[in-house]
Every structure is written in structure tokens, then in C-alpha cells.
């Protein structure tokens, strides 16, 4: 980082590009990370197929009888009302991506922007206000907060998303704030001031891009957290409204496993475990690859 002593922003941009190349090289050398990425891509294709209507379209049909075993017609069997578990599990993959992406992207954007503002104006009332907001939201236990948001927005299909975003941006916000406090005292920022760039310009063009390693890692963490939280929230009855998700399948299965029917449980928990695991591996590798001390 301390090599960022070029005169103006232009050279910082160049520098950034070369750093990204190094990151990429380092990432590609990490076998676990690449395997994780590959697995995530496979999941993504599964989700893409659902969005394009290639498969998983019959998730709501009563195509069989109750609790059918695995067969050629029903690869994972059928559930209690005769729906095809394979279709539902695949359909749920797209839900997982929807929830994960929406929450991760929005939480990261909000956390990044607010964190950057707080850090850039550290010590001023803006910073105080944002810190206060973060503390306030942090002080409310997560599941209780999510439950409260979900109930107060009852009926809205996005209650769960809103609740997760509202709590997930804070971690990113704090990290970005800390990073920006370090960055803003760097010479190139002072130089940017000197040539008369506006503060917003500086924040968005010169500071935020330099926190991208934090944002990327935080987004991947938020993605995983969102998928995992969805399971618990579905159990508590405040998950997604319509459609299908792994959380709903696991919730369906809590009673079935005791009757000796494990298909829902296994299908949903393995698929979920695979994606979460792959994403964790991916985000670890990203973190390693982007550790500035190692890159520099």
C-alpha cells in the first residue's frame, strides 16, 4: 500500500490494473479456490436453466403420489403431496442465487458507500451519525431483528431481503470505513484535492475502487450468510413467500425425517452444503489472493 505514492490518480489506476492481474494469477494458482469457483459456476448454470425455463418448471405440479422413492421419473423421489423433489431442489438453486445476489450486492453497495462516507468524513457529524446507526442496528440481536422486520413488512415478498440487507451492510461499512481512513491521508488523495476534484469525485473515483478487495470478499461472505440465514428464517416461517427454497425443503423435512423419509432433507442440505462450501472456498481464495501484503 505504501507504494501508492504516485502523483495523481491516473497512475493509481494503472497500478490497480497490474494488481488485479497479480490477484488473478495468484487466485488461479490456488487449487481449492478454482475448484470452488468451478462448483459455483455449475450451480449458476443450474439456476440459469431455471430462469430460462429449461428445467425445474414442474416444481409446483402434483406429478406423483406421496413420498415416492427415487426412480427414473423422479430422480430424488416425491414429497408429501407428490411434487418432484429434484425439480424443487433445482428450482431452489435459483432462489438461493436470487436471495444471495440481491442481498450481497445491495448490502455491499450500501456498506461500501456509507462506509466510505463515514471514513472520508471521519470525526465529523456524518461519521458520528453513521456510526450511531451501525451501533443501533448492531445492538439488536440478529434473528429478533429479522423477525421484527419480516413481521412489520408482512405480506411483502422482500421482507426477508430487506431485513438481511439492513443487518449485513454494517460489517462491510465498518471495514470500508477503516480502510478509507487509512487511504484518505495518502498523497494521491491529497494530490486529487490539489487539482481541484470534488469530494464526491474523490470518494467514488479514487477511494472506493481501492477498497474493492474488501467489497469483493464481503460480498461473498454476505452471499453465503444470506443463503444460510434463509434456512433459519424459513424454519421460523418468515422466509420467501412463493416459489421454493432449500430452507423450505429442510423445514418440510424436519417432520419427515422422523417418519424415515429423508429425500427432502438430503437433497436440500447436500445441495446447500455444496454451494456454501464452494463459496466459502472461493471467498477464502479471494481473500488470500487479495491480501495486499502478499500481493505487494
Amino acid at each position: 500500500m505504501n507504494e501508492f505514492s504516485s502523483v495523481a490518480g491516473a497512475r493509481a489506476v494503472n497500478r490497480r490494473n497490474s494488481i488485479w492481474r497479480k490477484v488473478l494469477r495468484k487466485f488461479l494458482a490456488d487449487r481449492t479456490g478454482v475448484a470452488g469457483l468451478a462448483a459455483v459456476l455449475v450451480y449458476f448454470v443450474a439456476a440459469l436453466g431455471v430462469w430460462c425455463g429449461w428445467w425445474g418448471t414442474d416444481w409446483a405440479d402434483l406429478g406423483g403420489s406421496k413420498w415416492e422413492a427415487v426412480s427414473a421419473a423422479h430422480w430424488f423421489g416425491t414429497n408429501i403431496i407428490g411434487q418432484d423433489i429434484f425439480s424443487r431442489a433445482i428450482y431452489a438453486t435459483s432462489t438461493a442465487f436470487e436471495v444471495g445476489v440481491v442481498v450481497a450486492v445491495l448490502a455491499t453497495i450500501i456498506g461500501g458507500v456509507l462506509g466510505a462516507f463515514a471514513g472520508f468524513f471521519a470525526g465529523s457529524w456524518i461519521d458520528e451519525l453513521l456510526l450511531w446507526a451501525m451501533n443501533v442496528l448492531d445492538a439488536i440481536p440478529f434473528y429478533l431483528f429479522v423477525a421484527a422486520v419480516a413481521y412489520s413488512l408482512a405480506g411483502s415478498p422482500y421482507a426477508m431481503h430487506v431485513a438481511m440487507i439492513t443487518s449485513f451492510w454494517i460489517g462491510t461499512g465498518r471495514l470500508v470505513r477503516g480502510e478509507v481512513i487509512k487511504l484518505r491521508n495518502m498523497e494521491y488523495i491529497e494530490a486529487a484535492y490539489a487539482i481541484g476534484l470534488s469530494r464526491f469525485m474523490i470518494i467514488f473515483r479514487h477511494i472506493l475502487p481501492n477498497t474493492s478487495h474488501i467489497l469483493l470478499v464481503q460480498a461473498s461472505i454476505a452471499f453465503v450468510s444470506a443463503i444460510k440465514a434463509e434456512v433459519i428464517l424459513s424454519f421460523l416461517g418468515i422466509g420467501i413467500r412463493d416459489g421454493m427454497s432449500w430452507g423450505l425443503m429442510i423445514e418440510e423435512s424436519t417432520k419427515e425425517v422422523l417418519a424415515g423419509f429423508y429425500n427432502n432433507f438430503i437433497a436440500a442440505s447436500l445441495l446447500m452444503f455444496g454451494l456454501v462450501m464452494a463459496f466459502n472456498a472461493l471467498s477464502d481464495a479471494l481473500q488470500d489472493a487479495m491480501d495486499p501484503r502478499k500481493v505487494a
Partner: protein
Amino acid sequence: MRFLVQKYIAGLLLVAVIAFAAGCESDQSVHQVSAPPGLKTYRHAMDQAPTSLDPTQAANVYANHVVVNAYDTLYAYKYLARPYQLKPNLAADFPTVSADGLTYTIRIKPGVRFVDDPCFPDGRGRELLAEDFVYSIKRQFDPKNQPQGAWLWQGRIAGLDEWKAAGSDYDQPASGLRAIDRYTLEIRLTRPYPQLVDTFAQGYSAIVPREAAEKYGKALGVHPVGSGPFRLVSYDSSRVVMERNPYYRQEPVDLQAEGYDPVEQAYTGIEAIEGRSPPFLDRLEIDFITESSAAWTSFNKGNEVQFTTVPIEQIDRVLADKNPIRLRPEYAARFHMYSGLEAGFVFTAFNMDFPELGYSPDPERNRRNKALRCAIIKAYDWEARNQSWYFGLATYFPGIIVPVSPEYDPDLSRDSVTLDVAGARRLLRDNGWTPENLPTLVYGTTAGVTERLFFEQFRAWMRAIGFPHDKVVRKTYATFGDISRAWKRGELPLVAKGWGLDYPDAENTLQLFYGPNGSPGSNDANYRNPEYDRLYERSSVMLASPERTAIYRRMNQMVTDDCVAMTGLSRTRIYLWHKNVVAVPDREIVGGFFLKYVDVLPVAQTRPEG
């Protein structure tokens, strides 16, 4: 380095030990009550916790189970008689009724005492008097208590509504409800009310001493002071613990009078309680276990709860045969079983106030709407619902008179509960319904996973008769309270709900479609049929008779013919209990009244052979 790590481990272990010791200390500070050994204890289980033990809040079976054991009621249901029959409990006998059916005189048993409690002047429970009953019913008309039971007597017992309008002053009399002397009550009605005695067998009418209500105020809900067979030891959201009320009146059991049927019930060993005075337990614990899996595991362990409803997902593992219901040998060796239909039903009514499927000012549309409703009813697959959710053990029937009601007619045409997709499609086509002009069906449910699958099943049935996927929509509500609000405000076109009978008289379900009970009342369908209303009013003042039964059945047919509801289904409940427990547990109607008759044998005596 290795040395260092060891040192750290040692240090951290030390911290752990200290922390643990601290944990144990705080453990002692938690005052938990437990059964001292040697006391005869029975551990019952229910799938939900009551929210309050105040009789004014005794709205559900869970609260009732506890309330009728902590408090006394004038009447109760016979322990063993099926169909259910009333018997005097605190009352000395059945009421004397005047010739016009409007004045009831009830004598109560003398010498009954409340349990000892600091609310009484010297801490000792005083005698229960007729005046206490008057006070307790008045509490249901005092808005400060947010009472839920007033609807049973509103407009029926003279003077109570006026008493409430005048400010609910307990020192003021209510004209139709008074104690003539210490042990005699007189109740005057505004019109005949054949179900009055039934209402006096409910938790709502349990008898509370004024001292306790005044001393504890709202906290009466967690601090019951009654004269029932048990007194409260502790109560929280996970269980209630009660102990024998030492003052409970001595009344030896007469099995004959309780309706004992040696053929059907001898297997329970119930004859052992003949001639003895309940309660037989020193201690009664009721665990509230919401997750059926946890309840089932706990029950099977042998040393935890001694009673369970067989969770629906265990049916195939537990039953060898479904008709008649028979346990597999390994379960039969360890447990006793009782099965019976619930006193209630589930149904889905159309809200007739929605012009797109209910009453329309346009007679032509009215006719087409009726065809639409009838088609939806034909497409409703009760058999599939029964198979997937109730393992085929439930009973579905046409109309709204449930099988446990004495007025149920088993010979009614089953057309309205028979799946007929072709007929439904034809009906829609003949009446000009197309996928484009079909209205959107909004199906409201609470947020549970089962409710979601109910909906998905319903949507698939509707798609089978031509509804597009997105014209069958689910609206979820966080809590039962929230969905009730939607029902009461008439916001949902489809009302899928269950109704538990308050008393075994079909009037209790027929009132669900009585016009003046429309939203926010119990007629969520907002069905208004003048002929039906007239019949209801006529029958509601009649005592049970073949004539009344005929009227009931006519009303039932009207609901079916007008295609007002997809109805209905009564679930079969299967109860298991440990073999050392002597009981016939049934949570329907008899409900909590059975608990005082429960006896527990020493375990050694009942070990199954082999």
C-alpha cells in the same frame, strides 16, 4: 513453543473450570421445581402452551386443560361416555328449569374450599359460594379483563350487557344472574338457550374468588387460585406443574355413572379407580412441546412425558392397520392407545361478500358465480388431502354438521366431497368461464410450511380445471392473530380454517353460517340466506328433539346446495400413553376434565412380558 502452547492450554483450562464453576453457581440461583422422589407424578404433553390461565382467556383447548384443573366448573363432561354427556361437577345436580325455559336454578355443593393463598385474609382458602360464580361470569363482561368468553352469554343472560354498559361495577347486580343464597344460583334468560348448561362446562365459566382477581389483577393469568383438583406450582411457556389440591372434595368414582363401557375400555385398566376419590396424582406436569418430533422422542424415551398424540409423520411406523386402527406389536407391548375423531373440522369457505365469486347485484353474474364456486368445490380433492396429510385416517363429509355431533347424517349424498374434474370443467365451460375471465383466488394462510403445501396442493387442483398458475395466489400472515384480522375484516375471498366444537351440538357449527354473525362475527363466509337464518333462529331455542335435528339437516343441505364452502374434514387423533398410566385420555370435549382421573402404577407392576 510446544511448552508455551501447553502452558496456554493449562491456563485456558483453568479459565474454563472457573467459568464452569460460576455457571454451576448461577445454576443454583435458578429456582426450578422438580418432583421429589416417591410422589406419584404424571407427565402429560400438549402441542401448544396456553397463553394465560385466566378463565377469561380460556379460549382454546390448551388453556382449558389447565383451567378446568385449577378451577371448578358447575358442570363437566362424563369421563368415559361417548357420545359426550354432561354431568354435574360443582353443581349439586342439573338445573331446575322453569316451564318457559327462561329461568334456571342451580344449587352448588356446600363445603367446597378454594386453595390456600395469600390473597385470603388469613392465607387460608375460604368456602366457595354461589356469589363467586356470579362474580366470575361478570368478569367476562368487564372490558378491563379483555375477556374472550362473553359471546357465550351476550344477549342471552338478562342484565349482563346492561351491567357492562353501566361501567362493570362488581358491586352492582346484574338482573339475570344472582345468588339467591349461599349455595343457590338463579339465572334468567332473555330467550331459551338449550346450550346454557354446556357453556357452564367450559373454562370460561370457571369460578374465580374475587380476592384473588383483585389482588393479582392481570397476574391472575399466571397465578390461578381455584378449587379444582390441582393447584399450581409453576407455569411458563414450556410447561405447567401442578400438585394435588388437598382440599378437593371427596367424590368416589362411579364408573357406571361416568359411562364406562367394559367392552371398549377395559384394556386401559380403568376399573382400578372405581370407588376411589380423585385426584389420584400427587403431581401433574404438562409439557408444552410444539415440535411433534421432540414430543415423540420424549415420549419414546420412557422416562419423560407419558402421553402423546401420534404425530402424523409417525403413523406408518406405529400402526399395523388403519381400519380398524391397530398398533404394531412392538408399540402395543409398550403403550396403550385410544383413537377418535376430533370434535371439530377443517373447511374452506368462500367469502360471499366478494362480488367476483360471491353475491353480485347482477343476477346473471350471481348465477355464474355459483357455478364457479360449485366447480371449485368439485375440483377440491379431499381424498388426496386425506392421504397426504392424514394418512387416510381422517373422515371427510358433506356439509357442516361434523361426525361427532349427534345430529350428523351418515347417509348424506357425498357428491360435494367427491373429486370430479371433468364435471368441474364442464360447469365452468357451460357458464362462460375461461382462463382469461376467471377471478384470482387469494388463499390466505399462516406462515407455516404445512400451510404452504396445502396451498400448493390447492393451486395444482385449480390448475387442473383451468385456472392459470398466477391466478391462484397465496397471501401469508405472520400469526393466527393477523390472519384472523383479515378474516374478521372480510379481506380474503377464501377462508381456510378449522373450528373446534365448544360443545357437542351441531348448533355450534351451524352458527358459522348464520347471517347476523357475519364479519367480524364467526360467519366469515358472510353467507346470508333469509330462510337459513329463520331456521337457525327457530332451532336455537329448541331443546334436542327429532324435529330440531330435521331443521339442522335442512340448514346443512342449504349450505351444500348454495356451494358456500369446501367442507369438511374431521381428523382422527390417535393417543398413546405409557402402560403404567391408568387413563382414557381424550382432549376433545372432555378435555382437561380427564386429568383428575389419571392414576399411575409403579412401573415394575406393568412391565410387558417379552
